[in-house]
Symmetry: D2
Subunit: 488 residues, 4 copies
């Protein structure tokens, strides 16, 4: 763990020189640019907890490769305890940042790639697994942040990669050389990309033989030649960019993951950092293992966020004098209930985890998909309840400039005061925090991060073991188990 | 109808001089300031339709006071047909603006005040009704926009007006003079306030004898001495303020109603514009009649918005090549189903409307409350489904500056293209429209506009005729109808 | 109205001799057999209200054919007022029976056939309309109960009528004679069939040219030669059959519609009672008009049932001492809210009804489908809430034999008593009523009566005017209305 | 494990002589009476699996008291693995019976009493724990079935035990003797009571000093003098009682737990079987520990039931030819999704279980309550979806007597056939199974078993750590952590 503190993490980012555009201009230093700095601070929390005695046990692990103490975010899960510790860690990180801390994407990419490269080698006699372990040892030793880059633009979604009119709509190998490969294409929605050290490229869908050039896993540094990132807009980003500390809501940390498009304009990847190259029959595994790990996380980090939101709303109700109303308590109860329902699936898919042939542990696929799928419903309902309890002022509150204005500041303060004895600033601050956590970008991420709802439904149906369930029903109804009809 | 067109409406606003602050500065011309102009344009649509042959029948009415053709927004409903025409008009206005056109608040205030002043006079021998008709004739003749000002700041919500440590947390009469009254306090969440001509002040809760000074209905011009407005922040308002035509989503019209705080710093109101002054026993009626009319509207205008959203999402799915997937069709079906469920209650509460003693028609209170209550659920679900179908790019799309950038514009366009043959701009525009209609301010307004959910539940329980329902059940179960037990 | 009272209705049934089987035996007199008598009594209520001064205005109408006063259930809707009166009447009938009063199926069949036969004649120069009016005049004059027979068994549902391995899975014409036709097949789920006078056979799906023999509308008496009915099982039917007056829950009226299978074993229908014979291009109209009328009803009658259920639960909470708990009030509020939401769509689809070429009024198809679709959700939720509030004793209460037992009756009474002063019988009776109204058959009917949920979704999508909605969105987003892409 | 097989279990029941009434008559042999035998068979499955090599590992455990192999249902959880094995076992039992296997109530009573008696002794120097271990050793050695008797009738629920007009509405000690105590009162909703060997009486609410006589835990055999049981009615119980093998749906096993009222008419309990006697300060613990264990189970056994239901519906859709329709697959997916969501909480509350001072392991209280609470929603939704897919014939299907009838059997078979090649009997059987699993009693049990929904909400709010959550929110919003305001 060469990078030991959040300060060192920020320092390390300043030593890189990625090409990042935002609102038409280059960002030169992600640690100081107001657009990216709050995201850097959120990711930095993953370094900070590892250095904090209170959280060390959760935030670090012992490398099975080197025996060294490493940051958990660079670890390969060795058992169920590892999986559960991850869940507990993520909830705490969610509670401490109120947002996305980004680093799980690479974490999950590492774990998925680890087990899949092992199995590719078993089948094809390749040496991807050894290459990968070497690269991973480096990541662990240095304590680097990795962005797991999966989602391609996809163009016309009714067509496969090779059927697109523009063949670059999925990242592909455009040249194969002795010493490596050249890739072209883009990855979109890349959480934490601008403040990572390394990119782990993975395919985004299960592919068939027609798509050999698209079946590629490899790693590249974020500032490799040919890479351009474009940082996306978010809800109310100008408040952040203008350093409006009061109106921004969560003044320390960014909204979700600071997503960017990563464009690969013919980027060279040396052979030792290529971990899949045309083995299309393993694309299904890499996608679904990554997805399962990633979906499992959402019941942990988002529960952390909902803990914050529940606290924020409860406090606001105290400020407004409504905390003891029976309908308020009932809605707060519902918020907690839904949060803990989500958390249940994160814990559960870990508790019934299983070892892959490589020794790396996987979460239960069914329960991980169930977990994320509920996020796409319950996070919205929790946000809706929060807005219900918060009241309309979330949408009509004057700006901080008015709050501090000589002309109208006193009126704003007078007419937005609440229960006697609580400073009116509290109401503004907590209101803005709720606004930031319930609107726009924050919710979209819950919907689509780790895969859109339909992606989970497909997996849930596939893993549903319908034939077995039909047998159970027939047995009880005393229907003979004939051979033919158990397709559905 | 002196003001005949939207241009004349804008002109008329330029002749007023209200004191309006926004982000710490004064707004001098609401028709040209980028913060307020889109809201002016939305309200202007209520003038435009009245001048459009296609919509005239819905958008105008015949005054029962003068026999003249007037803008429907200044009309007192004379029958069920009027109520239903209002509903149809509002859906069309929602479809044409994709947002709040603001003018219904005053419309509902007029209708509630009309019938209540009639009944006050009947009981107390006052002459409020005559005063009100005179004022209303003026409003109709001039075709003025009125903001119905009801919601007080309320301070500590567990206390009544007189129990507040600051007695100004509800608007009150601080002086009674021969020629009029002086009022102090504030009204918050005031939709359309900055671009109205006249304010109709009404009490916000049912009050008892202790609150005589707070039981006041009166009208004042928006630029009366002592009035200050502070215009609120909204989600992504900087995009609007910076005239970012692509990123703003709905480039013509504002987000919801352009809400403002109206502060009354000892404002004088001449006696002929005072319509209630201490008759606390009618505060219940004014509040619930206004609320019923207003809640009835939400199933109309919001359905118009959801029509737009359904269309937007359907088009985006065409762009992305997913329009024919069965789950997409199913979700679009659900969006339509929920929208039409809302619309049903708007129509229904009108179809079973009833005449007040004054002759003005009221909607059915139960169904009007049911209508609004469903908005606080189904609009959120419709938005959630829209975000599901739209995909994650709503939250990660680069800005219009990147789209137009020389350095990265071509990459953005390449990697956000969809089905061949549809311009990539379409995807940006429709995506941003969806973003604008589903996040933050837009949703909060659906929750709290016309009253928070709990307000509707109280009315629904109160109007539920439980004693009668208990009788029905007892009859079927052959339980004798004894006298005592029918309290609940 | 030859049949003027419920007694005369029962008498008229005794003059018929339909072949009805139930639990393996023939039922000889439906008015006295314990299995069918409660259903007869529910249908009889449609006669009783027409004779009751209090309800006459809703329950009767003036025939547009003869000018005579007729029972509304035999009327062709002449205007919106007729449609709304029907809705109000049905809610009252639901309240008075707590169950299905069955007669609406024929009522809707009459209305659908009326307008469709008119249009067939316009196109083909046939004389179905005149035949139908003659038949209808007879129905009106006699005040007969008609069962609208639509649902065929359908066999393998992935196949069309002609593709079935057994061609009789849809009712079809097996012989065409000079003086009439011979039909074969069956209609299932036939509400009120055993206590109707006449059967109106209609096709169950839209058909193409391949299905000419299946495109048949005609009328036959219930006791025509070749007809056999088999009466279905229901939840807890033995309590009804054994006349267990306490345990049956609703001792006067049956559970839902007393559904039967009607088998047509080569039944002859004279030519003057044949109203469609091969005009496949009108099968779509007959199905969807009937369905629209029928779906519109469900928001009326079921709301009546939910009124009873809400009253029953409220009373039970009084008995148990929980009526004032805040969560109880909140759940009762929710029950009312959902009921009135359903009612809204019934009223609304009537209020925006429209005249067919024949002059008969149709409800709005979209809103009628929305109405029924919500029944398939909200009736279940209302029942769930009722069971929540009722408590577990609904499922564990000892039988009436134990209640009256010498050995254990005193224990049962002692330990199921509630609030002092309310007889313990009340708790039993109201509990059993809730049980009867929330379990099994009652709920299945809400799901599938008037068409299964997916049938409504198909109509909602079809009527959703997506192309228009896309236009609205494009206009707001300032996207040019190009020609090509508006398919979805 | 003296009782080694299900046959031996049945034999052991025949050696007891409890006083049981049902429908006004005594039941003499629960193993042969058609009313109780199906329940006996379901409970017998807990014996059968322990004797089955395939399930032994889950169904047995090693006693920490004796080191012997015991039936898991008599075990005290020693670690998290025990808790998780229980969950897995219960799901399998649900799958194999399609209903309640009853024995978990005593299992949970044992575990709650074990840890609480330990703590009472620690505080008061009593010897309840030793007495309890002695009794438990006997239960383990004999392998007895214990009914955990908690729910009192409660009379007027707005009053405490001592405030009731009849003091027997909660079980109480009416006499304290040297050698034991005499109890009076009743326990209602007693799952498995009629086929258990022993009753473990526990208090049903947290009590204060006023209720010392009501704070009693003790064990008595089911046939102790003074005990009378009254077996409750269930949905369609006559089909079971009349041995209608086809119509009953689940021909082998009963509907839910065969609940009975247990009346204690001054029953003597010897001192060595008294485990609490007046220590009111521990009533809270016994209630909430029992409840937590019991609520945890519902996500396991009910998931097993839903597995069966999902299979049944899937098969029925094959029979009807609809299995491949996209909406059918989507609804099946939803059924699975909801089932697995429930299962998640059962697993999760076990995986984060914790040791009590006695060494016995508890599940996490929050997650266990969340688990049960979701059952009260999702089981209903799963049932609703099942009924949607099954179709209306569930409610209208003729009886088995008609199916077998000479006169009409051929018609019934002809018109209820489905896809060619699948016997029509299959459709009947699977339809009846779905009917049995979705209506009436089955659903009520999911609602109220292990506590009504509001009981869970109270716990969820109480365990919600709101003060901590408020702190998190304040930290992020940069609000100082002042002392006073953190009550809510």
């Amino acid at each position: 763990m060469k990078i030991k503190t959040s300060a060192m993490y920020e320092e390390s980012l300043r030593n890189l020189s990625p090409v990042i555009y935002y609102k038409g201009k280059r960002i030169n230093d992600v640690t100081s640019d107001p657009a990216t700095a709050p995201h850097v601070r959120a990711a930095a929390m993953t370094y900070a907890l590892a250095a904090d005695d209170k959280y060390k046990e959760l935030a670090t692990a012992t490398s099975h490769l080197t025996g060294n103490t490493i940051n958990r975010f660079t670890h390969v899960h060795q058992n169920i305890e590892d999986l559960i510790k991850k869940v507990k860690l993520f909830r705490i990180l969610g509670q401490k940042t109120g947002t996305c801390f980004q680093r799980c994407v690479g974490f999950d990419g590492i774990n998925a790639t680890y087990s899949v490269t092992y199995e590719i080698d078993q089948k094809y006699g390749t040496d991807y697994f050894e290459r990968f372990k070497k690269w991973l040892t480096h990541i662990q030793d240095e304590n680097l942040m990795v962005v797991g880059a999966m989602t391609d633009p996809k163009g016309d979604r009714s067509r496969k990669p090779v059927e697109q009119s523009d063949p670059d709509q999925y990242v592909r190998v455009v040249e194969r050389r002795e010493d490596g490969i050249v890739i072209r294409g883009a990855k979109i929605h890349q959480t934490g990309a601008v403040n990572s050290h390394e990119i782990l490229v993975m395919p985004t869908v299960a592919m068939d033989e027609s798509s050999k050039d698209y079946a590629v896993i490899c790693a590249v540094p974020v500032d490799a030649p040919g890479i351009t990132m474009i940082f996306g807009r978010q809800a109310n980003d100008s408040r952040r960019d203008n350093r409006e500390d009061l109106d921004v809501g969560n003044p320390s940390f960014g909204a979700v993951g600071g997503e960017a498009v990563i464009v690969f304009n013919d980027v060279f990847v040396p052979v030792e950092k290529v971990f899949m190259n045309g083995e299309v029959d393993f694309t299904n595994d890499i996608v679904y293992r990554f997805a399962a790990h990633h979906r499992a996380n959402y019941g942990a980090c988002k529960t952390g966020l909902m803990d914050v939101l529940t606290g924020a709303v409860s406090y606001l109700c105290q400020v407004q004098g409504t905390a003891k109303a029976s309908h308020v308590r009932d809605k707060v109860t519902e918020m907690i209930h839904l949060s803990e329902t989500l958390y249940s699936s994160s814990i559960a898919c870990s508790a019934v985890g299983w070892p892959t042939p490589s020794g790396a542990y996987m979460v239960d696929t069914m329960l991980a998909n169930v977990c994320k799928h509920n996020v796409t419903r319950f996070h919205f309902e929790v946000a809706r309840l929060a807005l219900d309890l918060a009241g309309g002022f979330i949408a009509t509150l004057p700006s901080q400039y008015d709050f501090k204005s000589e002309e109208v500041g006193h009126m704003v303060k007078k007419y937005f005061s609440g229960v006697t004895g609580i400073p009116v600033e509290d109401r503004f601050k907590i209101g803005r925090l709720i606004e930031a956590m319930t609107g726009g970008t924050a919710m979209v991420e819950s919907m689509h991060g780790a895969g859109s709802p339909q992606a989970q439904r497909i997996m849930i149906f596939r893993e549903g073991k319908l034939a077995e369930k039909i047998k159970l029903a027939k047995t009880l109804a005393r229907i003979p188990q004939r051979k033919k009809q158990t397709k559905s």
